[in-house]
Each structure stands twice: as structure tokens, then as C-alpha cells.
């Protein structure tokens, strides 16, 4: 392995972590360039928090190495590493007021009092908490606590800021508000950030890059648009809300795309390349599937098995060629065709809408 370049604020080099018989993280390699907002996304127990805690030094990798700004820190204890962290429950010291919470790290660093006061005032201004310096954590709202936790991490000007599901404790509206603030702050300061979450919307909204983890492995890493629109496999596709996976057989190939046959339902056009005669797996987002009672441009014959009204939208459960699909349509009011379970319908989608999944 070549020595890691300092361009990467964090580098994980084939790190694994086992707890007794359980492997939390397997042979994971990850480079995080300076200034990047990286989200590690995955279901609970996928190893994302363990990965974060290995960067922090709260866990020591069983094998492999951790680098921060080019320096190997695998055996360095947390308090000597150049990072700061925002915890899931904020972990604001309950016995210290806001100013002392935020200034804690600078005090540990041995900064003169006047500098600490100035830095703390500056960062509290940045997170719009200037008036609350002498409040105690229990006197603050959830959003204010979140800002204090953020300020406490930012004020250290760390090489990397680690965030362990920091928005999980907030209610939905506040969470969306804080997402925007967090993103703006990170871009303004150019801090490298690693953000652990199980919420795909949050990851999409915040990140420069997303690493999707499962069973201790990174399944895919890329820009939000890449992982959303071109999921590498069924797991990633499923994690981003693609529930429709179909098996089809390539029956025609030309320079513009392919036709695949889906059981008895018919043949549909897709805009990617494949070898003729192969069986492939494709996925289509529910909101991309169009259905109608009859429409010459929709090539697939299907039967409605269920119709579920969901307020803003309606879900249509389709059975076609022995496979089950879900289509979601926005409700626009009035313009209802009166589709109901048992009806025969036709369906289809734009050739660009289908996602090709890895074989098998």
C-alpha cells in the first residue's frame, strides 16, 4: 500500500473489527478527501457506527489501519487524535453551561482564557446561540442542544468531524431544518465530515458522497445521484426505496437499447445494453410506473391485485407475468378512473427509468 496522501483527511486501510464471534466491519477501505461530506448509510447493525468509532479511536481495529491527515493513528488514543464528534444524544455535559460545554475542548488544549472566550463567542454566533451562553443543557430545546453539540465540535477546527446519527433525536420538522443548517455550516467552513445515518433521505440531502454499508461491508460508494439512480445491486436499490425488481429475458438488441420479455405480460423497451438471450434483473421505482385501463403506448398486460389510498398518493399492486410490482401515482383530485382490485390494466415505463441490477 502506498503511503496515504495528505489530500485525504481520513483513510481506512482494510480495517476489520470483530467483537468476540461477531464481525462488525470486514476489510473495509475508505478514503475521504478534504472538505467532503461523506455519509455512511445502512440499516442498524451494518457496522456504520463501529466504522465511525474506529476513526475516533473508541474502537481499535482488529486488523488494518486508520490514517488521519496522512498520519497513522491506529494505536493513538482518542484524545490525541484530530477529530471531533457530535453524538447521537448530543452528550452535552449536564453540569456545564453552554459556554463551558463549547469551550471544553479548547480548555483541554490549554488555550488562554481570553482566546477561549473569543472562540466560543464566535462559534456561538455562527450557530445562532449567542444569547444562551450561560444556559445549562436541560434548559435548551432539542434544536438548541443540537446546535451546542455542533458548536462544541466545530470550535476545535478538527481534521474531521464525526456525526453519529445526530439528528435522530429530533422530530421530523426540526430534523429537516437542521439538515439544511448542518450542510450550510459544513460547506461554509469546509470541514471534512463523516455522517452516520440509517435515513436515506437525510444522506441524499446532506452528502457529497454516500457509502452504503451492509453486514460490515461497503456495498457502494458514490455521489448521491449515482447511488440513487445507479444502485450497484439489489440491496442498494432496495435501500433507496426501489421495491420493484423483475426478471426478464433479452429478446432484441439494437444500438439504442434492448427489449426484454417479462413472462406472459409482454415485452418492454429498456435503454441500456445487454447480450441477447440473457436473463437480467431490472428495477423500476414505483413512481415511474404508469398504469391505465387501456393505452396503446403501455406494452405490459397486468392485473390489479390491490389499490391502497394513501392521501397524497395511491399505491397500485400489480401482478404481471407471475411477478408483483407496486406503482405509485400522485392523487390529483377528480381525475380518477375508478380502478379497483381485480381490474385488468396495462402498464409500462420510460426506457430510461429502468435500473439494471447485477446479475443474480
Amino acid at each position: 500500500m502506498t503511503p496515504p496522501s495528505a489530500e485525504f483527511d481520513v483513510r481506512l486501510d482494510r480495517v476489520s473489527k470483530t467483537f468476540g464471534a461477531v464481525t462488525a466491519v470486514r476489510e473495509t477501505t475508505l478514503d475521504i478527501p478534504r472538505g467532503t461530506f461523506l455519509s455512511i448509510l445502512g440499516p442498524s447493525g451494518c457496522g456504520k457506527t463501529t466504522t465511525l468509532r474506529m476513526i475516533a479511536g473508541f474502537e481499535r481495529p482488529t486488523t488494518g489501519n486508520v490514517y488521519i491527515r496522512g498520519a497513522r493513528v491506529t494505536e493513538v488514543p482518542p484524545y490525541k487524535r484530530d477529530f471531533s464528534m457530535v453524538f447521537q444524544n448530543f452528550a452535552l455535559f449536564p453540569h456545564l453551561d453552554v459556554a463551558h460545554n463549547v469551550g471544553f475542548g479548547l480548555r483541554m488544549r490549554g488555550l488562554p482564557r481570553a482566546d477561549i472566550d473569543r472562540e466560543v463567542a464566535g462559534v456561538l454566533d455562527l450557530v445562532k446561540l449567542s444569547g444562551l451562553a450561560d444556559r445549562f443543557p436541560r434548559q435548551l430545546s432539542g434544536g438548541q442542544q443540537q446546535r451546542v453539540a455542533l458548536a462544541r465540535a466545530i470550535v476545535m477546527s478538527p481534521a474531521v468531524m464525526l456525526l453519529d446519527e445526530p439528528l435522530g433525536a429530533l422530530d421530523k420538522n426540526l430534523r429537516e431544518e437542521m439538515q439544511i443548517e448542518l450542510r450550510q455550516l459544513q460547506q461554509k467552513l469546509g470541514i471534512t465530515a463523516v455522517f452516520v445515518t440509517h435515513d436515506q433521505d437525510e444522506a441524499l440531502a446532506l452528502s457529497d458522497r454516500i457509502a452504503v454499508m451492509r453486514d460490515g461491508r461497503i456495498e457502494q460508494i458514490g455521489a448521491p445521484r449515482d447511488v440513487y439512480e445507479r444502485p450497484a445491486n439489489e440491496f442498494v436499490a432496495g435501500f433507496f426505496g426501489v421495491s420493484n425488481v423483475m426478471n426478464g429475458e433479452v429478446v432484441h438488441v439494437d444500438p439504442d437499447g434492448i427489449d426484454i420479455k417479462i413472462g406472459e405480460a409482454g415485452t418492454v423497451r429498456l435503454s441500456f445494453a445487454a447480450e441477447p438471450g440473457r436473463r437480467i434483473r431490472v428495477a423500476v421505482r414505483p413512481e415511474k410506473i404508469r398504469i391505465a385501463r387501456s393505452n396503446a403506448s403501455l406494452p405490459l398486460k397486468a392485473r390489479l391485485t390491490d389499490v391502497v389510498y394513501r392521501g397524497a398518493s395511491t399505491s397500485f399492486f400489480l401482478e404481471l407475468g407471475g411477478q408483483t410490482l407496486v406503482a405509485i401515482r400522485q392523487n390529483e383530485g377528480g381525475r380518477e378512473e375508478g380502478l379497483k382490485a381485480g381490474d385488468a390494466v396495462v402498464c409500462g415505463w420510460d426506457p430510461n427509468a429502468a435500473i439494471k441490477l447485477a446479475d443474480g
Binding site: 484524545y79 452535552l92 449536564p94 445549562f136 476545535m156
Partner: protein, 297 residues
């Protein structure tokens, strides 16, 4: 059962349930009123009477029992000794118990359980036995003296008993488990994220301890100090067995007055003791302010 009756029963059910709930409260409350509250009020009442040769107390109200204590340096010395010993024992318990409690709190849950049970067990053993244990160790024929004599280190037994220090050692070891259990539970309840947060902010393990763990264990320190201090005040048997006839504490004065059938004086001493206990129960939390640690985790 007819439908009508059933309907009525359902309507009345909540009423019966509420009534039976209050009925549950009555017997235990009656016990405390009759045999806890009333006796104490009666004792307070007695403490304001002159002594009597024939009855429990004489006629007429007086402050004499209290005033005599305030005016008498013999009593004041004993009160001072009582408070100093109590404070000293509580602080030493804190000092030597804290490291053990810290270690216990860091043990895996199963080991922690065993460690705490080993501390709970001595609390179940009567204090007279535990105090006697020190007699068997420090007495003229105790472990120390007989061992030293066996090895020819000394000819005459050392006089290790019957001093304030002996009383303090006895109280310390008898009450230490309260301190450790109280501290260990408090330390174990600290969210480990606080310590990680401190480390993420460049605090070394030692500074993490002094800036985060120690202040966050204030509830345990408060209850530990309070329990230990309060229990030193009423530990008559320990004081009597280890202090002997000369090393008296406030509680000995209560007992001596009872033996002398001076009921009003005993009552007055009892309420002085109670007032001191109340003072301790107010001062310790005021100093350590355990409340500031509570709040959102």
C-alpha cells in the same frame, strides 16, 4: 346475572376500584401515624417538661432540657466530637470508597453484581457482630495483640480499644458499603457518551475523570455522604463497644439519660440529634448540588 345488573356493575366498577385503592392505603398509613408520627410528637412534647421522680415527666412546660445542653461545655464537647467524627468518617469513606466504586462500576454487569452483593451481605449482618469483629481484632486478647505476643514483638498487650479513633474505624468499616454501593450505582449510571465526548475534546483519561466523571457522580457522593454521616449519629452499639465508657457521643447521652430514667432529658438529646441530622441532610446536598447533574442525557 341479568343484563341490567351487569351494566350497573360496570358503572360502579371504577368507584369500587377507587375505594379499594384508598382502602389499601389506610392500614400502612395508620401504622405510620400511630407508631411513627405520634410517638415522635409525643417525644417532642416530653422534651419540654421537667423531669419527675414518679411519672415519666413533670408538670409545666420548660426549655430547661435544651438550655442545659447549650450551657454545658461537657455536652458541647460531646456534640462537637459527634459531628467531627461523623464528618471525618463520611469523608474517609468517600476517599477510600470512591476508587473501589469506580472500579466496580467499570466491571462487566455480572461481576459488578457479585461485587455489590459482597457489599450488601455485610449490611445484613447485625452491627453488633461487625463491631464485635473489631473487638476481636483490636482487643487485649484480639488478633493483633495475640499475634504480636506470639512472635515476641510485645510483652504487654497494646491498648488499641476505647478511643475516638477506634470508634471511627468501626463506623468507617460498618458504613463503607453504603458509600460504595451508592457511588458505584451513580458512576455506572453515567452515560459513557459523556466520557467519550470528553475524550473527543482532547481530555486525557485523568482529565476526563476530574472534569466529567467526578462531577457527574455528585448524586452518588451526596447520598453516600448523607447516609454514612446520618448513620454515625445513631450508632450507639458501635460507639459503646469500641469507645468504651469514656468516648461518648451524642447518642450515648440519649442512652445514659434513659438508663437514668431522665425521660425529658433523653427526649431533648434525641431532638438535638435529630436537628443535627436534619442539618447534615440539608448541608450536604447544598454543597454538592447533585441536581445540576440531572436533566437531559
Amino acid at each position: 346475572m341479568t343484563p341490567v345488573m351487569r351494566a350497573e356493575g360496570n358503572i360502579l366498577l371504577p368507584v369500587f376500584a377507587a375505594a379499594s385503592r384508598s382502602a389499601l392505603l389506610l392500614p400502612p398509613l395508620a401504622l405510620l401515624v400511630l407508631f411513627f408520627l405520634t410517638p415522635l410528637l409525643y417525644l417532642f412534647f416530653v422534651s419540654f417538661h421537667a423531669p419527675s421522680q414518679s411519672d415519666l415527666f413533670g408538670e409545666g412546660l420548660t426549655l430547661g432540657n435544651y438550655l442545659r445542653v447549650i450551657g454545658d461545655s461537657f455536652f458541647l464537647t460531646i456534640i462537637e466530637r459527634t459531628m467531627l467524627t461523623g464528618a471525618l468518617v463520611a469523608l474517609i469513606c468517600l476517599a477510600i470508597g470512591y476508587p473501589a466504586a469506580f472500579a466496580i462500576a467499570r466491571m462487566p454487569p455480572r461481576h459488578r453484581l457479585v461485587a455489590l452483593l459482597l457489599l450488601l451481605f455485610p449490611l445484613m449482618v447485625s452491627n453488633v457482630i461487625r463491631a464485635y469483629g473489631w473487638v476481636a481484632i483490636l482487643g487485649r486478647r484480639g488478633v493483633i495483640n495475640s499475634t504480636l505476643r506470639n512472635f515476641g514483638v510485645i510483652d504487654l498487650p497494646l491498648d488499641l480499644m476505647f478511643s475516638t479513633a477506634t470508634v471511627a474505624v468501626g463506623l468507617l468499616t460498618i458504613l463503607l458499603p453504603y458509600m460504595i454501593i451508592s457511588l458505584a450505582n451513580s458512576i455506572a449510571a453515567i452515560d459513557p457518551h459523556y466520557e467519550e465526548a470528553a475524550q473527543s475534546l482532547r481530555a486525557s483519561p485523568v482529565r476526563t475523570f476530574f472534569h466529567v466523571t467526578l462531577p457527574l457522580s455528585a448524586p452518588g457522593m451526596t447520598s453516600g455522604l448523607m447516609i454514612v454521616f446520618l448513620l454515625t449519629l445513631s450508632a450507639y452499639v458501635t460507639v459503646s463497644l469500641l469507645g468504651g465508657p469514656r468516648t461518648k457521643m451524642l447518642v450515648s447521652l440519649v442512652f445514659d439519660s434513659v438508663v437514668a430514667f431522665a425521660w425529658p432529658r433523653a427526649a431533648a438529646f434525641a431532638f438535638i440529634l435529630l436537628a443535627l441530622a436534619l442539618g447534615v441532610a440539608l448541608i450536604v446536598p447544598a454543597v454538592l448540588r447533585p441536581g445540576r447533574v440531572r436533566g437531559l442525557g
